[in-house]
């Protein structure tokens, strides 16, 4: 089991009064495709942040690779994110002073991967996402769809266990969004990467992802999200 979450809770605000996640249980196995759904304020982004290890649950327990996250030190969490988790953000979050190729390569250099292997991985990721001919361009020279594919390539090149994507299609038109989802689904299936998305977009659910539906910070229905759709 990649993730086991028990009674996960999280609240924002002073004195933690704004409860956004309330006693959520979740289990995710390696290679699964997951889609967190629910209306705004349902807690899907917060759950995504917990699963991306960029936020720690305030209550309950989350195990990642069998180890309790709340017992991990900052350095350990940084290393897990550096080596095992790739992120795709709604607004791409590319580094605009670096080229497409350098954006993808950046986190590989931070993983201390040797140059030859790094170049291979970058080429592979860019080829897979049809971006090889754009490798020298800067982000501002790309369309929204291309930018998001660069973000996916960047996450993928890390060879992560998990790709965490927050509303990856929200900034794209429906055709581009569908293409991106095809790319993500192919990566999940071919490489065995666990894919966890949070999305409002009903189109996303057409790609056979397990839906974890949230409402008012709770699972809806309360079942550890075992219902498959698609």
């Amino acid at each position: 089991m990649l993730y086991v979450g028990q009674q996960l809770s999280f609240a924002y605000g002073r004195d933690h009064k704004d409860q956004v996640l309330n006693s959520v249980d979740v289990e995710i196995t390696r290679g699964e495709g997951i889609c967190l759904t629910g209306p705004s304020g349902s807690g899907k982004s917060t759950l995504l942040h917990l699963l991306g290890l960029i936020e720690a649950p305030q209550d309950g327990q989350l195990l990642f690779l069998g180890k309790p996250v709340h017992l991990m030190k900052e350095d350990e969490l940084n290393d897990l994110r550096r080596f095992h988790i790739g992120f795709v953000f709604q607004d791409f979050q590319l580094i605009d002073v670096l080229s497409v190729e350098e954006n993808v390569e950046f986190f590989l250099t931070r993983q201390q991967i040797p140059k030859t292997l790094r170049k291979e991985r970058v080429e592979q990721a860019l080829q897979d996402l049809g971006l090889w001919e754009h490798r020298f361009k800067r982000p501002h020279e790309l369309s929204g769809g291309q930018k998001q594919r660069v973000a996916v390539a960047r996450a993928l090149a890390k060879h992560p266990l998990v790709v965490v994507a927050d509303e990856p299609t929200a900034s794209l038109d429906s055709k581009t969004g569908r293409q991106l989802m095809e790319n993500l689904k192919a990566i999940q299936e071919q490489r065995g990467v666990t894919l966890i998305l949070a999305s409002h977009d009903p189109m996303v659910l057409e790609f056979g992802l397990r839906e974890i539906r949230l409402r008012d910070g709770r699972l809806n229905p309360p079942n550890k999200g075992t219902r498959y759709v698609g």
Binding site: F83, F87, E105, F107, T109, R110
Partner: protein
């Protein structure tokens, strides 16, 4: 990659980077220019003092300098020839000049003015004491009754080159004596006290006036001031009854007090310039962190630690600091070249002559300015980036673009 990233980030907000670069450059220029200017001022006055009045140092009987004696000649040098012979054999000694000093009245026939006289070997001193700045006439040279006097003294007496004066003084026996002298030159060394009171006649004439064959002191001219210390030590062990007084003792006002004063002033200016760099760079780097909050959040999400981010931002600051400090040094060098003959300055306190000050730039002062500029700027960047330690990843990636 981190270095490349940092370098490219500098070009991200070009206007801000240019302002930061300019601030560092102006700060380093200010630091180096002032240091060079003050050093130049000190060097100028010291050089002036050495080659117009004191030489690199003087030999006197131990305990004589700075004391008042009823019969000073009793404390003059017992065996000046032996000392001069010793000195002439020493390496780096260019010349030695026996001298006597005395107080006398100068009379033009209508009025008397008090002055401080020096008996010198005119023919020998002429070449070494080449900064007396004769505004009329020239050195005594070999002229037996020749006399040179300060511009203030000449003005008080109303004399010009070629005029005759009578020097009236007291012999060592206490009787009144006088010698006749003809003015060969009027000098303006630039130090008011000297220009208002000092005059020089031949040593032999002064000895006639004082009725003695003794010598009060021996002035030494070296080929380089750096050799004073070793000469002084050797002399002290060979002639234990005498002491060698350096220019720093003889001309305490400028060579020592002036230096201390200007160093203190320079340190105040340093604080001002470094403070200016510190505040400007702190502000600039803080804005950078604020502006790039989302990017920093994305980097944190991908495993970069706060220390990694600080390293990146400080690296950017370091590049800017190096570029700015280098620019500041280039600006100073350009000013140094453009002001080839020196920067004309009004007379400093205690002086009465406009002196063009040449920037005195040494590799150590350039290195110091570079180091101070870079360290201050980098420290300011570092302090401003400490806020990254408190950065919440989620808040950062959600921050407004």
């Amino acid at each position: 990659m981190l270095a490349k990233f940092a370098l490219r980030n500098i070009r991200r907000n070009q206007r801000r980077s240019l302002v930061a670069l300019g601030t560092i450059a102006v700060g380093v220029f200010g630091l180096l220019f002032l240091q060079g200017f003050f050093s130049g001022l000190i060097a100028l006055h010291k050089e002036n003092s050495i080659h117009s009045r004191f030489g690199h140092g003087q030999i006197m009987t131990k305990g004589y300098w700075g004391q008042a004696f009823e019969k000073p000649w009793e404390h003059w040098l017992k065996d000046p020839e032996a000392i001069m012979q010793y000195l002439r054999q020493q390496p780096h000694v260019q010349a030695v000049f026996p001298r006597v000093q005395f107080f006398a009245l100068l009379s033009n026939g209508r009025m008397n003015v008090a002055g401080r006289g020096q008996g010198v070997v005119g023919a020998e001193e002429k070449n070494f004491f080449n900064k007396m700045n004769f505004i009329e006439g020239g050195a005594i040279g070999g002229q037996r009754d020749g006399m040179v006097l300060g511009v203030g003294l000449a003005r008080a007496l109303g004399v010009k080159v070629g005029d005759n004066l009578t020097v009236m003084g007291q012999t060592i026996d206490g009787t009144i004596n006088a010698i006749d002298a003809r003015v060969t030159g009027i000098f303006q060394v630039g130090m008011k006290e000297a220009d208002d009171t000092l005059f020089q006649v031949q040593l032999s004439e002064a000895q006639i006036l004082l009725n003695t064959q003794s010598v009060e002191s021996i002035t030494i001219g070296l080929d380089d001031e750096a050799h004073w210390e070793s000469l002084s030590q050797g002399l002290g062990s060979t002639f234990p009854d005498y002491e060698a007084l350096s220019i720093y003792v003889l001309d305490q006002v400028w060579a020592e007090n002036g230096q201390l004063f200007l160093t203190a002033l320079l340190n105040i200016f340093r604080l001002v310039f470094l403070g200016m760099i510190m505040l400007a760079i702190y502000n600039s780097a803080s804005n950078t962190v604020l502006e790039r909050k989302r990017e920093l959040g994305m980097l944190r999400a991908n495993g970069e630690s706060p220390q990694d981010l600080i390293q990146l931002l400080v690296l950017e600051g370091l590049y800017l600091a190096l570029a700015g400090a280098t620019l500041g040094i280039i600006m100073t060098l350009v000013v140094h070249i453009l002001s080839g003959h020196g920067i004309p300055m009004p007379p400093t306190p205690g002086t009465n002559r406009l002196l063009p000050v040449r920037l005195h730039l040494e590799s150590s002062s350039i290195a110091m300015a570079l180091l101070l500029g870079v360290l201050t700027s980098t420290a300011a960047t570092f302090l401003s980036t400490l806020q990254v330690l408190r950065l919440s990843i989620v808040q950062a990636i959600r921050a407004a673009a």
